[in-house]
């Protein structure tokens, strides 16, 4: 297998883009990534795009062709991946495999979702499709409710508190203040979270990531050719993915994502690293409890101690493992198909030294991105290494 590097990144601002369509968003992100990579459009040999539910949200499928068409890339082959909220991470992994396997030298990866054209109730139904239609949504289980069931059991087994969960959101908002692409660039307090009203107890409105429109894109290149395009390539040191049951109730545990553990172990082996070698993390905090479980399942702290780990400041800027310095899904926003690519982009920015100054980790060498589909039925983990 060949080594693969990221040579360019780009994204739209995340938020409610009432004046922009899905095709506007993905085209903007794609062109930014191609310009940032300093490649010519004709050098790009294939497109991979993650998108979860465009059929539900805007009535449009055939997203691969739409990307190639709108970006003026015809006739290059174009692929759409769907793995719920991990659609973007899966697109990145497939693009990585296509270059690592020697099929292509230069490919583009996108992630996108246009979520705010439908009502909140209809969006809830679309998102619940990430779980098990027949045993979860049929019984009235929304996506927040599924994570609430994990949160409640985590509190029961380990004494995790609602305040500790709230702190995850508070810290992520604090980071997003510096992120020009974030949906919410506004600091919040634990009190704000506690007073924000239950969506599905114990999760409150401000424990939950929002509905967001946005797209993110990157350009990958065989590492031995990357220097032709950029002085600051970032190598993909590991690409790992794992699956688990679609429905939460059939998992071996309600308090962690086994697929995260499996993917992380594989990624650490590929990159020959351990959690202590990692300088920063972008994890999938679709809900505050998800960040606590991710820290445990990725091996940054022991099972059950994630709440305390956050409370002690270990995930802050300057802490043991600075986490979601972008603002995370909570504050950057969560266009479901885009988030996996956006998480990777924010790691790449840190390793290039291109992150916003107040949250730029000094001399960052290795970063990890973690992307979850549904309630953990798909998990994708990528490790990135500074390549210059």
């Amino acid at each position: 297998m060949r080594k693969v590097s990221v040579i360019g990144v780009g994204q739209t601002t995340f938020g409610e883009h009432w004046s922009l369509s899905l095709r506007d968003l993905v085209t903007e992100a794609g062109i930014k990534a191609i310009e940032n990579a300093n490649v010519e459009g004709k050098d790009v040999q294939a497109l991979f795009g993650g998108c979860m539910a465009s059929g539900r949200f805007i009535g449009q499928e055939h997203i691969g062709a739409l990307m190639a068409d709108q970006m003026g890339m015809n006739p290059v082959p174009a692929y759409r991946t769907e793995a719920a909220c991990a659609s973007g991470g899966v697109a990145l992994r497939l693009a990585y495999m296509a270059v690592a396997g020697g099929m292509y030298d230069v490919v583009a990866v996108g992630g996108m979702e246009k979520m705010t054209d439908v009502s909140t109730e209809d969006a809830a139904v679309a998102l619940a499709g990430a779980g098990d239609q027949e045993s979860e949504l049929f019984n009235g289980a929304t996506f927040p409710a599924i994570y609430a069931l994990m949160a409640r059991r985590h509190m029961h087994d380990f004494g995790t508190t609602e305040e500790q969960m709230a702190l995850c959101a508070v810290k992520n908002h604090g980071h997003a203040v510096h992120n020009p692409y974030a949906q919410f660039r506004k600091a919040i307090t634990v009190e704000n979270v506690m007073d924000s009203g239950y969506i599905a107890s114990p999760l409150k409105l401000l424990d939950c990531s929002p509905l967001t429109d946005g797209a993110a894109a990157m350009v990958l290149c065989a590492s031995d050719k990357a220097k032709e395009y950029t002085d600051k390539p970032v190598e993909i040191a590991a690409s790992a993915q794992a699956s688990d049951t679609l429905a939460l109730h059939e998992r071996r545990s309600l308090t962690g994502l086994h697929a995260t553990e499996v993917a992380a172990k594989d990624a650490y082996k590929q990159a020959k690293i351990a959690p202590k070698d990692i300088d920063l993390l972008e994890c999938h905090d679709c809900f505050s409890i998800a960040q606590i479980m991710a820290l445990e399942d990725l091996g940054f702290c022991k099972k059950g101690t994630g709440g305390k780990f956050v409370e002690e400041g270990n995930t802050d800027f300057g802490g043991v493992i600075p986490t979601n310095l972008s603002g995370g899904l909570k504050a950057v926003g969560h266009p479901v198909g885009a988030s996996g690519v956006r998480e990777a982009i924010d790691v790449v920015r840190q390793l290039r030294g291109d992150a916003p100054a107040p949250v730029q980790v000094k001399d960052a060498q290795i970063g990890l991105s973690h992307n979850v589909g549904g309630s953990g039925a798909t998990v994708v983990v990528h490790a990135f290494k500074k390549g210059f």
Partner: protein, 125 residues
């Protein structure tokens, strides 16, 4: 879906006679034994205990009129687990470890024409 009705009305799941595990809802393949697993239909027990619960305040389409409602993950007497609504129970008894039993109820009103789906729910004993 109408084809799921027997499963939902009778709380019908799957028993793997090879490894002994019970599954709900039904499966075509035992994830542990795969093609070696000998699977038969099995009626699930009507009692169990709550492993985790949540009270839902913001509902998806079709459930708007029922909020707030309790959801729980229940472990049945044969160790199979399922996700269900908890009804007819005071809020302060819906807790981890609470014993529950099966009841049949309307699940949701399907369409503007009024098709109604029935299925399993549980209540605290």
């Amino acid at each position: 879906m109408w084809r799921n009705i027997p499963e939902r009305y009778n709380l019908l799941g799957t028993h793997c006679q090879t490894c002994g595990k019970y599954y709900f809802p039904m499966r075509r393949v035992c994830p542990t034994c795969r093609r070696k697993g000998k699977l038969v239909d099995a009626k699930m027990p009507e009692t169990g205990k709550i492993l985790s619960y949540s009270q839902v305040f913001v509902a998806p389409s079709g459930f708007e009129h029922e909020t707030p409602y309790f959801l729980a993950i229940v472990e049945l007497a044969n160790k199979a687990t399922l996700l269900t609504q908890i009804v007819d129970s005071k809020a302060d008894v819906v807790k981890e470890g609470a014993r529950v039993e099966l009841v049949f109820r309307k699940i949701y009103e399907d369409s503007p024409e009024g098709a109604i789906a029935y299925g399993y729910k549980f209540r605290v004993v």
